[in-house]
């Protein structure tokens, strides 16, 4: 009985300590008048957002601090609907449920999804049909598409990834699955595929093996791997804009306009302005205007 009282006092004082700490922090922020915009979401959009943040802080308002977290599209969207973040970065479309909860999407850039292979692989071009057949496991050897003799190993992003969803949609790797009275869109990606949860891992797989093929966002491309053209077109600004390069998708922001503060609005306007879009092109992506 004696030390239960002691614990009570200890816990109480701990609580007070914690709460005092919190309230102090809030006060400080108020005094300094530092405006904070919290951005969370897709790991694919993150590198672009990082550049846009630097641009905004340099060219517009150095008193605004933009905090970016790479949490994945879904977590980012969730944090906006919960009011933890102001802006979510997403590489996938919002679901109906998310739209109903008051979120809207803003297109900020176009992204080409590129097929990558090992530098020693002599293939340079694949048709959309070949891509579909390779990823669904119908074509299993490189010599069927004019390459060396070797079993093709397909690498995909993980379930739920925006890049995977867009890739499947753009290359027709979706199939309808009817269950009861509901229709779902299933994936046709080969049962033998490897799955990785970031572009870096896919690049390092491809870098080490001549037989592997994967897909990544154009912003993640570097010299360690070889980019394929699709139907004879390389992924470039003009080929994406006029639709000749077919595997491209938009990058979006998701916001809740009902409780969006002025600072966040200004940041979004900056992204859509000429200056912002210049940064988009400079980062390797394709501008929207």
């Amino acid at each position: 009985m004696k030390y239960i009282k002691g614990i009570f006092i200890l816990t109480l004082s701990l609580c007070i300590f914690v709460f005092v700490g919190c309230s102090n922090k809030n006060k400080n922020e108020g005094v300094e008048n530092m405006k904070i915009v919290k951005v969370a979401g897709s790991t694919t959009v993150f590198p672009l957002m990082q550049n846009l943040k630097n641009g905004y802080e340099r060219q517009r308002d150095p008193n605004v601090r933009i905090e970016i977290q790479q949490t994945g599209s879904s977590s980012g969207i969730m944090s906006v609907s919960e009011g933890i973040s102001q802006i979510a970065m997403t590489s996938r479309d919002l679901t109906e449920k998310e739209k109903e909860s008051g979120l809207s999407e803003i297109k900020i850039a176009l992204d080409g999804i590129i097929l990558i292979i090992n530098n020693d692989n002599n293939i340079n071009n694949l048709t959309m049909d070949q891509i579909k057949k390779i990823f669904s496991g119908e074509i299993t050897n490189w010599n069927e598409v004019g390459g060396h003799d070797g079993k093709i190993i397909v690498i995909s992003r993980e379930n739920g990834s925006g890049t995977k969803a867009s890739f499947e949609e753009l290359t027709n790797l979706k199939k309808q699955v009817i269950k009861g009275d509901k229709i779902y869109m299933g994936s046709l990606i080969s049962k033998d595929a490897l799955f990785e949860n970031n572009a870096g891992a896919i690049k390092s797989d491809v870098m080490y093996s001549k037989n592997m093929i994967g897909y990544i966002s154009i912003g993640n491309l570097d010299k360690s791997v070889k980019a394929l053209s699709v139907d004879g077109f390389k992924c470039l600004e003009n080929t994406v804009k006029n639709g000749e390069y077919k595997i491209a998708r938009p990058f979006k922001l998701a916001v809740n306009f009902d409780n969006l503060d002025e600072t966040s609005k200004d940041f979004i306007n900056y992204i859509l302005s000429d200056e912002g879009q210049k940064i988009v092109s400079k980062s390797g992506y394709i501008s929207v205007n």
């Binding site: 614990i7 739920g160 490897l194 891992a201 797989d205």
Partner: protein
């Protein structure tokens, strides 16, 4: 004054003890309240024995993950426990003093290596080796087993050695006096006497193998289907969560918590079985 101090100290320590108990309860509460409803939404049987994991079409079968986890853990444990136990025996009885220090330091260093480094080692050395010599994509069940066997070594070695050293010297000397040679004395008298400590070493090793995520993600290939051979790319329970947590939404997200529930139950089961095994042997 003395009494008051005593009382204060006592309550401080009690509060600390309470913190760990409290955090365990919070974790259980959080994982179960998020995960259990989804299991029933999916259907207990469909969840545990379904072989298709495709959140896009609302298929959440985790049997392949469970099978992979069990196979990789058992095989890795079989390899790691043999090497680990014999290494501990060597360290405590057969090792010259000079090399003892070196080996012991290396083993301790091994236990401090972050798991991502093991994973990187697997990615750069083990998976290309498998790909070039056995075929397949390299990222495979075999790679997982190899990495896990190495990862559980330091846990098993360190704890077994402590257990073996804790056996009173008189057991060993008594055995020698009765005419045993050194090997017989060690294997027939000292090691059986250290059994309960070695068992805890095993269980903690298994726990580590079941729970390892970071390293496994890098070498497993993360394919959600049932493994058909040692060379198939696989997905374990932990990597199932680790791979998809950042992008999953709605029921897919809850299903990941459900996997957490299953993992939690496995770990609890392991710990309880340890208590029973040790009690039986006492």
């Amino acid at each position: 004054m003395g009494k008051k101090f005593e009382f204060l100290a006592k309550s401080l320590f009690f509060a600390c003890a309470l913190t760990s108990v409290f955090s365990l309860f919070l974790i259980i509460l959080y994982i179960f309240s998020n995960g259990v409803p989804a299991i029933f939404k999916i259907g207990v049987f469909k969840f545990l024995f379904g072989t298709v994991w495709e959140p896009d079409i609302m298929e959440f079968g985790i049997l392949p993950f469970i099978v992979t986890t069990i196979i990789s853990t058992i095989v890795a444990f079989f390899i790691g426990s043999r090497i680990g136990k014999w290494c501990a025996i060597y360290l405590s009885f057969f090792c010259p003093r000079k090399s003892y220090k070196i080996i012991k330091t290396i083993v301790e260093l091994l236990s401090g290596v972050p798991s991502i480094i093991y994973g990187f080692f697997g990615l750069v050395i083990v998976t290309p080796f498998i790909r070039e010599n056995f075929g397949g994509p390299g990222k495979s069940l075999l790679a997982v087993i190899i990495i896990l066997s190495v990862m559980i070594l330091p846990t098993i070695i360190n704890l077994s050695e402590t257990a073996i050293k804790a056996v009173p010297k008189s057991y060993y000397e008594g055995a020698l006096a009765l005419g045993c040679n050194k090997t017989e004395a060690v294997f027939n008298v000292v090691v059986p006497a250290a059994r309960s400590g070695i068992n805890s070493a095993y269980i903690l090793g298994i726990g580590r193998a079941v729970g390892e995520t970071t390293a496994v993600i890098l070498v497993a290939g993360n394919n959600p289907n049932m493994p058909t051979s040692l060379l198939s790319p696989v997905k374990t329970l932990t990597t199932g969560i680790g791979m998809e947590m950042s992008y999953a939404a709605d029921l897919a997200r809850e299903a990941l918590f459900s996997i957490g529930v299953i993992l939690f139950i496995i770990i609890i089961f392991l710990n309880i079985s340890l208590i029973f095994i040790n009690r039986k042997e006492d």
